[in-house]
Symmetry: C2
Subunit: 470 residues, 2 copies
């Protein structure tokens, strides 16, 4: 169950500029699809109108992910950078049950209140908000372009798929829309993570693969456990099987995150990282290592991942990999209900310990935690799975460095549902602020995005001009 952790890291990217926005609130129904409960609540959204042409300028609308919206507003530099050129209004909408958009205040995530957390309800919130921003008119004036990365990218695509009358087009970056049951092999994510390390140096992935057994062996004795603590600079030693499990998941998550954010420039993440972080950490793993030497090398990897800015005295692995302030607690519930993304490892095609996908256990755990069972077909049925040919005006961009690409759309489906595959790009680099170190393929991808955006806006204007009725 890596994805519950991984998603938290997603999109917490570099802040390269100071972006300014107004914070606003908009009241939406708790339930858009029925009337059993008629409460409403206020969702948060951020706005910047500095460049907007109020006559006919487009609305660039970020479909907020699993986290507080400021994080996404601050890090989706692409939208900010093209706002002037398009005379666009920027809107970043916060997803219900994340950040401050809590329908039941600080009790929202309690089991008795969490049930209205779903992508469908969030998209309906966004549709309502856009209707309000358009002035609640029958014939809206402003073309709306949706943007999103990762789960936000899925939402941007889904928004166009379900509300084409409200959203003119969508840039869906690194959106793993195929990462559902039966659609891609459950091992694809971990194979791609492994590939990132193996590409740098086959010793690197082999050493990591080797390390799991060594860690287990060391942690089984008091002396070994103390040696492990020292080698990894852990704040607390591994005292029992639970601690060991947490440590192993922390490390798995670390490797996955390093692959996801394997950017060509230094980035200031949750934790700072050097350029090409996978290459950097593999420096310590570039020859066959065993025992103490192997653990010391892994310890250096951990140090780079957790302490590149030298702010931490030790590695507090027991708090998991969630260093961020995304408030993404709700994601675990979404993963347990509609966003069921099977993940597995086999230890053969990947560098992890074998960890088959056990749906029964997963479902039972979900039921224990939330009193719900996963609905594995829900996302496919609601949003189209691999049958999106009937949709239009979506760009699915995926970086070949990004393990989520294993669940992405890599072939264009028709003339206006396009796949953009970016050779040297990690997780939705194309949405980030531009950087002098940006590889050429990312620059090209951003230009392709702009061509589509321009075309969609023109299409909207043409339709507006030719609509006969009303």
């Amino acid at each position: 169950m890596f994805q519950t952790i991984l998603y938290i890291v997603v999109s917490l990217v570099i802040v390269q500029a100071e972006y300014k926005f107004e914070t606003k609130w908009f009241r939406v129904p708790l339930d858009h699809f029925g009337f059993q409960r008629n409460e409403t609540f206020e969702m948060k959204y951020l706005v910047n109108d500095d460049n907007w042409d109020q006559g006919s300028g487009p609305i660039f609308f970020y479909t907020g992910n699993e986290g507080q919206i400021e994080v996404f507003a601050k890090h989706t530099g692409f939208m900010w950078e093209i706002a002037r050129e398009y005379k666009a209004k920027l809107v970043f909408a916060e997803h219900r049950y994340y950040g401050a958009s809590m329908p039941f205040g600080n009790k929202s995530l309690d089991n008795e209140h969490i049930g209205y957390l779903s992508s469908a309800q969030a998209l309906a919130d966004y549709a309502d908000l856009i209707n309000y921003l358009q002035g609640n008119v029958i014939k809206p004036r402003y073309p709306v372009i949706a943007f999103g990365g990762s789960y936000g990218g899925m939402l941007a695509a889904y928004f166009r798929i379900k509300y084409p009358h409200i959203v003119t087009g969508a840039i869906a970056a690194s959106a793993p829309v195929h990462m559902f049951t039966g659609m891609v092999p459950c091992g694809v994510f971990n194979r791609l993570v492994t590939s990132s390390f193996r590409t740098v140096d086959t010793h690197c992935s082999k050493n990591i693969k080797q390390s799991w057994g060594v860690i287990r062996q060391y942690s089984s004795t008091t002396n070994g456990s103390e040696a492990l603590r020292k080698a990894f600079n852990l704040c607390t030693p591994v005292k029992n099987a639970t601690d060991l499990q947490v440590l192993m998941e922390f490390l798995q998550s670390m490797y996955s995150s390093l692959a996801m954010v394997n950017y060509p420039f230094a980035s200031d993440f949750l934790t700072s990282l050097p350029p090409e972080p996978v290459r950097v950490v593999c420096q310590y793993l570039n020859q066959s290592l065993t025992g103490d030497k192997l653990l010391e090398a892994i310890g250096k990897v951990i140090d780079i991942y957790t302490n590149y800015d030298k702010k931490n005295k030790c590695v507090d692995f027991m708090k998991g990999d969630d260093y961020g302030n995304l408030d993404a607690a709700g994601w675990d519930f979404q993963a347990c209900t509609e966003m069921v993304m099977p993940m597995c490892a086999d230890g053969v095609n990947d560098m992890f310990e074998p960890d088959p996908w056990n749906f029964t256990k997963f479902a039972d755990d979900c039921h224990k935690k939330y009193n719900v069972y996963p609905r594995v077909e829900m996302a496919r049925l609601e949003y189209g799975g691999n049958r999106l040919q009937a949709s239009s005006n979506i760009v699915f961009s995926n970086g070949l460095r990004d393990p989520w690409t294993g669940g992405g759309i890599l072939d264009s489906l028709n003339e206006s549902v396009r796949a953009v595959v970016i050779v040297d790009s990690a997780h939705h680099l194309d949405l980030m602020p531009s950087n002098p170190s940006d590889p050429e393929p990312v620059k090209i991808a951003r230009n392709i995005h702009k061509q589509h955006i321009s075309r969609w806006i023109q299409e909207f204007k043409d339709q507006l001009a030719t609509t006969r009725r009303f």
Copy 2:
């Protein structure tokens, strides 16, 4: 508030053939869009596989309206008649909260249970059912064509709009998808009803217009009321203002129904009717009439409408115009929540008493009855209002004799969202069993439907053959 009554009449059309089907049940979640309530219930659907090619034959899927599904299965002859040619499986799905598809049994319509009645939930039921019929596979084998008339036509179109990955195309007959707030004038329906009568004879509509005052006047005295009872052959006299109101609404509904079902052949409705019923009733109103004479003539109209088969001894107007067995009680709730269709009359452009659309009163009444307030923008936001250009593979057919055409799509929107306007057709005649008296335009419309259906099926097969992944 005519529409609550009118809709009940809709689609109760001629049985010309004996159609056989199996009755089946399928379990669906109470709430498809959230997890607050995790109950399930069984929805009913009817199946006929007699002509089906199980290898690749299409599924013809009727998106059930506001009523028990047998009524629609028995009367949508078009589907039955083309099933053999297309080697199609026929499926008629019952809408939740109608017929026997009751989530909470006979308590379903209680205020504490009715909140999960919505078009969105019904469409998600249908999507689930089709997924099951396809064998719950990632790559479905069978093209699915949705059919529906009236509210069922709206659902057929909405099904394609929201689930293009599940439904290949939709025949949406007489679907008033524009009959929402601000989209068409509230008086359009009653103007078109009036037009049906005026076209036959201007005296006809003038006499009807004249009659309201006469009825009011007669009902204000005991003697007058008795004369009225005799003239109209009422089972009970009009004793008070409430009775009068019910009688007036009954008559309005009668005229609307006569216009809707103004078919060129005799039809066996809720109540039997002769061919060209508007022409027939206008025979009695073809010169200026006043007083007793006028009431007698109206009485003859009532007799034809309620007693053409000579089975009723008197007119039981107090039970309203709901002679049918649609179990359509839920529609009033839908009209009070999402399907808010403003209706009005001005007595100038129509033959009715002035009756302005009073949303405040309407909303208050809804709140009193159901503890909900109408969400007037809901259908437009969810289904696209008049901005369906981004959709595809829908035929909107409308008969120019049908007053609901005032809320229909009469201009094609793009190459595959087509409007078919049928000159001599009343309410979704094109979906009914063929009849020797069918006017030529209806036959042409059915052929156009078949051309589209053939094209959609071919499109599905082409996509199936070229899908590269999985």
